[in-house]
Symmetry: C2
Subunit: 313 residues, 2 copies
């Protein structure tokens, strides 16, 4: 996997970068910003004392501070890395201390609701460039981060019309500097695309794992034992951070419910085909879905190894 | 991963083993039977000329024959490795040529329907021990097999009451010889357990990939690009063999539809919680599902590495 390289002499995207929220994404950004030299100084803050202590133990960033004010004071770049439901409150906390012209960005999986919540609080001089790196693992917390998390992943920016070009360019350089590919789209379209490629899959995975866990006719130990038949794949995303995902569903309600309705229609048709023994319909769908994976593998978004490369042969 | 070892001097499970059907499972058994010395001679047959040619090119087994008759003549063990809808027809083809007391087994993901279909045709002297190794990858065909596929996976046997103990013991030794853990259960219970841990997950994965592919509001290229947000996990099992899976759903209809009904009830409740903003309900479910994955990892049925170990950090 190629790692991003910055040219010698190229200006750093940021002089002083504040990262607020030290979970999987915040800690990965802290590690990547240092590894790829994207800011002269990286300052971290988290409202949890335990998380700050853990981040200090892990040696994340150059400095771990104990308040919102200290984190953003003098920062030319601020990345909000908290669950989407908390972005508005963080914006309110940092607003009084933001330096003139500071570029603020986020990493939320929902854009329209976050933009509305954040813009309510930011001062007019601050420049908000919403961003969403489509990357992650099922682990969370400051110990889960790693610097290559964003390499060859997409990061979607959804700047409002008329947003300052320099601010967008610096956020683009920042994400490209961490190895990501950057794409711009409207917040509404982002929320619909991600409802399909991320939110619905998580909802379905959480649901199927819950259903399996609740069945009295099949014990939980049987579900665990025989999970290699397919079920275990779903448990990975159903092990994702509960707070983060609660907030995603609550803040992208319309798009998620719309896509879910389509999923349900298709599932009813599939159930009907099974009930009436319509093998051709099943075969046609099952053949078509194979092609999608080939596309994902050929575009470098998935490993070509069988079974995700789980076992070395 | 520990590999199975047979004791020196221990009797081979089979003298002459016939494998009928050379897909992922048949080819893996052929490779494992040689690697772990489970039969003196391994004979392979497939009705497809192309598959037999490919198997010969790959050097699978000791001999590749061109008819059902040649494959089972003189064999003390016969493994039927074809889609479950074809097991009855294979049993009919091999019946006249089975040697007295031959042990016949299968690898089908459905047991009740397969047992019924096979027993209709087998001669009374043959001993049928139905089996299902809960293992596989999304790849298919004779080139997809590898000898360690069954190591540390479960293989479920569903012998009828009163089945000859020696036949069951030899099939057990055969699967344990390939590294599998063996468990016995009734065919009906097997079909319900697997509906939960394997058939429903496949149905849901096929469905969600189909839904995403059909949406006009989100392009296929966007689905592929941003698949790392969760969707790509589903594409792996939705890339599984279409014929095999068509047959599974058609032959385990009742159990699949029953489990699907439970899934749908739960999903409706989840959608309702999203619509009404009941964050606590979402959080509770999402916390509970995390624990299931920990169980699967701790029982050695899943890698503890984040993201299935897709990326080395």
């Amino acid at each position: 996997m190629a790692e991003p390289k910055r040219q010698p002499g190229e200006a750093l995207p940021f002089e002083r970068l504040a990262i607020i929220g030290i979970g999987l994404i915040g800690s990965s950004i802290a590690l990547a910003a240092r590894r790829f030299a994207l800011a002269r100084r990286v300052v971290l803050f988290d409202i949890s004392d335990d998380v700050r202590a853990e981040a200090a133990r892990l040696g994340l960033g150059d400095e771990i501070v104990a308040s919102f004010a200290e984190s953003v004071r003098g920062a030319d770049g601020v990345v909000i890395c908290v669950p989407v439901g908390a972005c508005g409150a963080v914006a309110a906390e940092i607003s009084p201390y933001l330096q003139d012209g500071a570029i603020v960005t986020d990493v939320g999986s929902v854009k329209s609701a976050v933009i509305k919540a954040v813009l309510e609080h930011l001062p007019p001089h601050a420049r908000f460039v919403p961003a969403h790196p489509v990357a992650g693992t099922e682990n969370s917390g400051p110990g889960a981060g790693f610097p290559s998390l964003f390499v060859n992943r997409w990061c979607i920016l959804t700047p409002p019309n008329g947003m300052d070009g320099d601010a967008v360019a610096r956020i683009r350089a920042f994400w490209e500097g961490m190895g990501a590919n950057v794409e711009l789209m409207s917040p509404d379209h982002h929320d619909l695309v991600l409802a399909v490629t991320s939110h619905l899959p998580h909802l379905i995975a959480y649901n199927i794992v819950g259903t399996a866990d609740d069945l009295q006719s099949v014990t939980q130990s049987e579900v665990i034992k025989f999970s290699a038949g397919g079920f275990r794949d779903f448990t990975r995303i159903a092990a994702s951070d509960p707070t983060m995902w609660r907030d995603v569903f609550l803040h992208n309600k319309e798009a998620v419910l719309e896509v879910l309705a389509r999923f349900n229609e298709d599932l009813s048709a599939l159930a009907r085909a099974i009930r009436w023994g319509e093998g051709d319909k099943l075969f046609d769908l099952f053949s078509r879905t194979r092609a999608i994976r080939r596309g994902i593998v050929s575009q470098g978004q998935e490993t070509p190894e069988p079974d995700f490369g789980r076992r070395k042969i």
